[in-house]
Symmetry: C2
Subunit: 378 residues, 2 copies
């Protein structure tokens, strides 16, 4: 594993469970994405991990920020970003929050409905707005519902209407689904976006920006495309669909920026069977679904687990892995066919790899009395 | 609705989302359970809502407490309970936490495996221990997995073995599943427990206590048994299976103690459709799965929703209800066929009833920047 994190765990022996993030990896991820898409502005999706250390690093690196709420906007401003580097990317905003963002200087807003467009027009007059369209999310590991976005036909109508509401119809956004390994999905979405651009140009509205959203994967159990492969696929699709009328582009990586930079150190609390002839052991860790591993919901995200007994050829056995709370739903992996070393014992450490995204803030506010996840940024 | 909560919401106009709990209802629930099971000790399942106001009320009322962790034990002690009123009911405990509980005077511990029994024997010598057995959870609305408990045969072996480990094999516990409306489930479990008692008595071990767990329901959308009906069913089953050799009994109500005492006040952030001919509207509230309504997972718990437009005969329409975060999984009800008034507008209040249990501590630690749920106890 990452030697910096390994050294920290060895030397500091922090109480478990805890998340340790290597900020150098975040910086590397930022550089890799910038190199892969040199003409694209990067808006870090703050919700993936809003730690001040990460925000400060990305401010210094030149990143912009995709924010979901006023507290996230304030965290980004506190880290030193100017408001022109902030997109209020949530399509579900209280009008009072739009006004608060406008007051802070934010001038770029997402919407996907007439009511939301009207709120932005009233509370953030003159701002740039982009309309999110629905995509299928096919191939994404984290479920993409129809919660965000509208059908392209509605997007066209709303963008045309925006001109008369005192805001600037600036572009279109989409999201291919989190942890998207199928690069073809970007092409499909960009074809739809290009159609909107073309159609609206014919009606006298020249859109300027395509927001390509996120989807950039973190390596869990299976291989993923590299940043360069994501970039190549996106650049090819942009060229194919927009030719020499290339729009401004932005991306909103969250998981792809921080996921592989973090390791959660946990401890085995109990290993047991339910009867003498039970064919699988239960391994209970001191972190579960309510302590930061919410993305194990429906076993969607399969984190790599590493122990000190993993030497090649070491005997392993099938296990059910669960968290420490008194909630019967707090099971991490049952159907996913996890195996752990037969030599694993109570008190042993289990490293949960690639845990830098969607863990700290997903942790519950003290469920069962367990404190939120402790965090170290090194 | 509850006039005390209504008056508070009307007069104080708290910012949404917030939970308002009527402590009188908690007191009423405690009295109703005590009246229904006068010979049974009540151990409140602290995890359902560990607010100091609730703990203090229940300490004064004479309740005991089922705790899942050292922080919960400390909250109960801080509320004025003596340690003899505490059960460390989690079957998954670090040995250091068993030692910490023992140090605080706790002398009653749950286990369901040999390894856990050994931890308790080492770290809490001389204590009373009870073994949790597996039950099917059939009929429970919140999923009951095989996470807790062991098969009865293993329970017998472990309880017999406990005698030689320096702890007192005190009894057996089970859980029929949270929000259990089928009273027959208690009878099935008690038949198994009585068999264990009988079998072990034949081997010279007289167990003394049956822990009936929880399962006591809160009224959400459909009717539920009264406390008296739960009590009658349990008393009948105890008599049937134990006759004149009645054991001590304890219950661990959580949801049944606080669920109906709380209302979450929320606000409509957005109402929208995805296309002009969409047949259902999306209604986005300012609270969702990560803000306290985690029990909407798989639409398991169906909270009653109340608005100011609910007059009899008022027009309503089918809706999808979602939370305010940028997470596509943050949808409360899609398949559950919820309807809301056609007159509902952005900015209107929506009351989420029977929300006193498993909400405040399930709330995430600031996911998307949204603060944990504000709480008022009146």
């Amino acid at each position: 594993m990452n030697t910096k994190i390994a050294a920290f765990l060895r030397d500091s022996r922090p109480a478990t469970p805890c998340l340790v993030m290597d900020l150098d990896i975040v910086a590397d991820n930022f550089c890799a994405l910038r190199a892969a898409l040199p003409d694209t502005r990067i808006f870090y999706a703050v919700k993936a991990n809003p730690a001040p250390a990460i925000l400060k690093l990305l401010v210094a690196a030149g990143s912009s920020f995709d924010c979901a709420s006023i507290p996230e906007i304030d965290m980004v401003l506190a880290a030193g970003a100017t408001p022109d580097r902030i997109s209020f990317g949530n399509t579900i905003k209280k009008e009072s929050d739009v006004a608060a963002a406008f007051e802070r200087g934010v001038r770029l807003y997402a919407f996907d409905s007439e009511a939301e467009l009207d709120k932005v027009a009233r509370a953030a007059p003159g701002s740039r707005v982009f309309c999110r369209i629905l995509t299928s999310g096919e191939g994404a590991e984290w479920p993409l519902s129809r919660k965000f976005g509208c059908e392209p036909e509605m997007a066209k109508e709303l963008l045309l209407a925006a001109r008369f509401k005192g805001v600037e119809p600036y572009g279109v956004s989409f999201h291919v689904g989190s942890q998207q390994r199928d690069l073809e999905q970007y092409d499909r979405a960009l074809a739809e976006v290009a159609d909107i651009f073309h159609d609206l140009a014919g009606k006298g509205l020249e859109l300027k920006m395509v927001n390509l959203g996120g989807g950039f994967a973190t390596k869990y159990m299976v291989d993923i495309p590299t940043a360069e492969q994501y970039g190549q696929a996106i650049r090819d699709s942009l060229l194919k669909h927009f030719g020499n009328r290339m729009p401004e582009t932005i991306i909103e990586p969250g998981r792809g920026m921080v996921g592989n930079a973090g390791v959660i150190q946990s401890e085995v609390v109990l290993i047991s069977k339910k009867s003498a002839n039970d064919n699988r052991s239960w391994v209970y860790l001191d972190i579960g679904k309510f302590g930061g591993l919410a993305e194990t919901m429906d076993e969607a995200i399969k984190y790599p687990l590493v122990t000190e007994h993993d030497a090649e050829g070491a005997e392993s056995e099938p296990v059910i892995i669960a968290g420490p709370t008194c909630d019967s739903a707090d099971i991490l992996y049952d159907k996913a066919d996890y195996r752990l070393p037969t030599a694993l014992r109570i008190g042993d450490k289990v490293e949960i790899r690639a845990a830098g995204a969607y863990t700290t803030t997903y942790a519950s506010n003290g469920f069962n009395g367990f404190a939120p996840l402790t965090e170290y940024y090194i």
